[in-house]
């Protein structure tokens, strides 16, 4: 049996140069085949609500939503992230480990049930750092323009991906001082359950600009402890198609595979499927969470505070630390400015997220529009 300790991957000069050559162009799109632009279904919005743990009736109940300012069910604004038509681990540097390190998102309109989103992603920047000790890291920035079929802008997503050689010191460095997943006592779990019950989402009784003051603190929103089960969704696993096609793909793109415990080839992302496997095959403390999920949780924070009539116009975020699967994340915000604009109050906020260790894993700002009376 294969007992190789740690799977490592390499970012080659050729792969790096190929990625750099994409700057200014649309990369080969491996996603549209699996997610062609089709009208957004009500059930799809329900799915997003369930997966982000934000069950507000504005996302779920048509009768309720028709009475809202949007006159129909809308999707959590964070789903705009899914419109990026580029996967750094497949389309960029096959076999690498990619981590989202920053996100800059603008919204012009809500995403409504029945909308069709037409999205185009461009690679806008590729930068490389390499040291003998840390290994090679390539940072790639993509810009995704999201329109409706009439060409009107829904929003824009600028994402920064840091791509690591698997098994490199830089990859290991993402875990900081942590050597294992966080462990919870029974009391911890009970306390988390009790904290969830305290959540008080605001809905139809939306916040108005008059009630907002600089320095206001937003009620915290809790998420987690996370588990791997949430990741078993069609969009995330398109290149794991099995059997004969897996064998064909391995011939074409061997860098996407590793020899697993059966000495059989398996997509390398399978290492990230559980803490056990990340420990055995990655030589790592466990599996990292997907940083992009935190955007969903911040949107939940802002919606809980604003209520149905609020609209997020901008988020600017950096993710200075990675979380591990099994962490909990609390989202926070505080108001820094308020201005009136065309009958709305435009509110600026600082937003941030902390894990159960008190580490600040996200930092950034938000801008929202709320009605004024």
């Amino acid at each position: 049996m294969n007992t190789t300790a740690t799977i490592t991957t390499e970012i080659t000069d050729e792969a790096s140069a190929k990625l750099a050559s994409l700057v200014g162009s649309e990369p080969q799109d491996t996603l549209t085949e699996y997610r062609p632009p089709t009208p957004i279904k009500r059930s799809q919005i329900r799915h997003w609500a369930v997966m982000s743990g934000d069950m507000r009736p504005l996302f779920l109940d048509l009768d309720y939503a028709e009475e809202s300012p949007w006159k129909t069910i809308i999707a959590p604004q964070s789903v705009i992230l899914h419109e990026e038509r580029f996967d750094p681990e497949i389309d960029g540097l096959p076999g690498c480990k990619s981590v989202l390190s920053a996100a800059e998102i603008d919204w012009q309109q809500p995403i409504r049930m029945g909308d069709t989103l037409v999205s185009k992603t461009t690679v806008v920047d590729v930068q490389e750092t390499a040291t003998a000790a840390e290994g090679r890291t390539v940072t790639v920035v993509t810009d995704t323009v999201v329109n409706n079929p009439d060409g009107e802008s829904i929003g824009n997503v600028l994402l920064t991906w840091d791509c690591y050689e698997r098994g490199s010191a830089a990859h290991r460095g993402l875990y900081g001082e942590r050597s294992a997943p966080h462990e919870y006592s029974e009391d911890d779990i009970d306390a988390i359950g009790a904290e969830y019950k305290e959540e008080q989402p605001r809905g139809a009784d939306s916040l108005t600009g008059d009630a907002v003051s600089i320095g206001d603190e937003l009620p915290c929103v809790l998420k987690g402890p996370t588990t791997r089960e949430r990741y078993l969704t069609p969009g995330l696993i398109r290149w794991f198609w099995g059997h004969a096609q897996g064998v064909e793909l391995q011939k074409k793109a061997p860098e996407l595979f590793f020899q697993n415990e059966n000495d059989a080839p398996e997509p390398i992302a399978g290492i990230d499927s559980s803490h056990h496997r990340a420990q055995r095959w990655g030589g790592l403390p466990g599996v990292l969470e997907v940083n992009g999920e935190r955007v969903h949780w911040l949107v939940h924070l802002l919606m809980n505070w604003m209520g149905d009539a609020g609209f997020i116009t901008h988020l600017s975020l950096t993710f200075p630390r990675s979380n591990m699967v099994g962490d909990i994340t609390r989202s926070y915000g505080s108001v820094t400015a308020k201005n009136l604009d065309e009958g709305r109050a435009i509110v600026d906020l600082d937003v941030w997220q902390e894990n159960q260790l008190g580490e600040r894993v996200t930092e950034g700002t938000a801008q929202v529009a709320v009605p004024v009376t």
């Binding site: 049996m1 089960e229 559980s274 099994g326």
Partner: protein, 424 residues
């Protein structure tokens, strides 16, 4: 878990989650739990889907493609609209295995939370195909519950179901009968520990080459008719190979049945506050993981380490549904576009363990003409890389006859839903 404070690292990890409200008795076979389950016999259940949900579940080309790709059956009937329009179906058609999507409930989510559930056997009956644009809804009911002694799990509760599927014209499209084995996890583990267990599959380079060759030699009949008159008893069906399975593939493949053709979220998508609400309702349900976090029990069977540690199994076991898909792939490869699979019975005498390779085989064992339908009876089975027969069963395929080559092979007059048996 006791209600007293425990330090980190001292948790009783594994199945069941006793809250401070002190609910007990989960995960055990008791007369009370068995009788509670029996009271549901014959009670018709549906997915309670509203009209808008059914409309959104109309079969799409994308849904059919996902189901085909996740099974590894790239039949152009499922993928190529131009090709399918020239076939007897006249449009894209759902792979027959998507009939498993009519299963309203199964034993993993029906009674006695905390008992493990294994799929024993199923019979599928098809009366007509499901085509692009159709939607499907279903009804199902529990048909029997009884406790039996078991060599592998000490004692077991067997429960069985009947499910009937309808299309959007309210025509019966098929039936699915299932039978499940429920057992106490701790007892199963103790018994398993005392048995000689096989290990995980291991492959030398030449083993992988052999598998690749079998993939390369797959034969699909396609649009060439296979006439009933040309089939002889004893004819072998060309094999279909699948695997070696792996974590990533299984994540896709086990969702590759009906549910994914419909494209809705899985039944186990509970996270964050929703998960905590679920544990409060069903404290015996979750698996408390190695780090003290309650998770949905489904996570067990995708992990070698967890199946070894908590169930005493050699590795991560499959749910069984993929073996239905793979067997159907073999049967439709043989029958071709001008055939109609009308019945499949499959038993699962043992598991497919993560990393196994599965070969599907078949042999013609009978021929008959029944109400002018030309039927071929086939013995089907699956073997793994150890030569173990992991699946056994029979199938019936309707073929074209040279006497009436243009005669439609479906619809088959469907047995109308019968009133379910009266509760005991």
């Amino acid at each position: 878990m006791a209600s007293s404070t425990k330090e980190k690292g001292e948790l009783t990890k594994g199945f069941g989650f006793e809250t401070k409200s002190g609910k007990k008795g989960y995960g055990q076979i008791t007369d009370e739990a068995v009788n509670a389950l029996k009271s549901r016999i014959g009670v018709i259940r549906t997915r309670n889907e509203k009209e808008w949900e059914l409309e959104e579940q109309r079969v799409s080309a994308g849904g059919i493609r996902r189901s085909a790709m996740s099974t590894g059956d790239y039949n152009p009937l499922y993928l190529d609209k131009d090709y399918a329009e020239q076939s007897p179906y006249g449009t894209l058609v759902c792979p027959p295995w998507t009939l498993t999507g009519i299963e309203v409930t199964n034993a993993a989510r029906d009674g006695m939370p905390g008992l493990h559930a294994w799929f024993r056997e199923t019979t599928l009956e098809w009366y007509q195909p499901v085509l692009l644009g159709d939607y499907v809804y279903s009804k199902g009911w529990l048909t029997e519950v009884h406790v039996v002694p078991s060599k592998t799990t000490g004692q077991a509760v067997i429960h069985s179901y009947e499910n009937v599927g309808f299309n959007d014209r309210d025509e019966v499209i098929g039936r699915m009968y299932t039978s499940w084995h429920r057992a106490e996890r701790q007892t199963s583990k103790k018994i398993a520990r005392n048995q000689d267990m096989r290990g995980l599959a291991e492959y030398a380079a030449e083993d992988v080459e052999k598998i690749e060759l079998d993939y390369a030699h797959e034969v699909r009949r396609g649009d060439q008719p296979r006439y009933w008159e040309d089939v002889e008893i004893g004819d072998p069906l060309p094999l279909v190979v699948k695997g070696p399975t792996n974590q990533a593939q299984r994540s896709v493949g086990e969702g590759g049945g009906g549910r994914w053709a419909r494209g809705d979220p899985g039944d186990w998508s509970h996270c964050h506050s929703n998960a905590f609400k679920l544990w409060e309702r069903h404290p015996g349900l979750p698996f408390v993981n190695e780090w003290g976090i309650p998770e949905v029990p489904l996570v067990i069977h995708n992990s070698n380490e967890r199946c070894q540690r908590y169930l005493g199994l050699p590795g991560a076991y499959d749910a069984g549904y993929q073996r239905i898909n793979w067997t159907v792939h073999m049967l439709s490869n043989w029958g071709g576009d001008l055939s109609f699979l009308s019945k499949l019975t499959i038993r699962f005498p043992t598991f497919n363990i993560m990393g196994d390779t599965t070969w599907s085989y078949g042999e013609v064992i009978g021929k008959r003409v029944d109400d002018e339908r030309h039927i071929v009876e086939i013995e089907v089975w699956n073997e793994n890389q150890l030569g173990h027969k992991v699946t056994a069963g029979t199938a019936e395929i309707i073929l074209a006859s040279k006497d009436a080559p243009e005669k439609a092979l479906w619809p088959i007059p469907a047995k109308q839903p019968e009133p379910p048996p009266t509760p005991e």
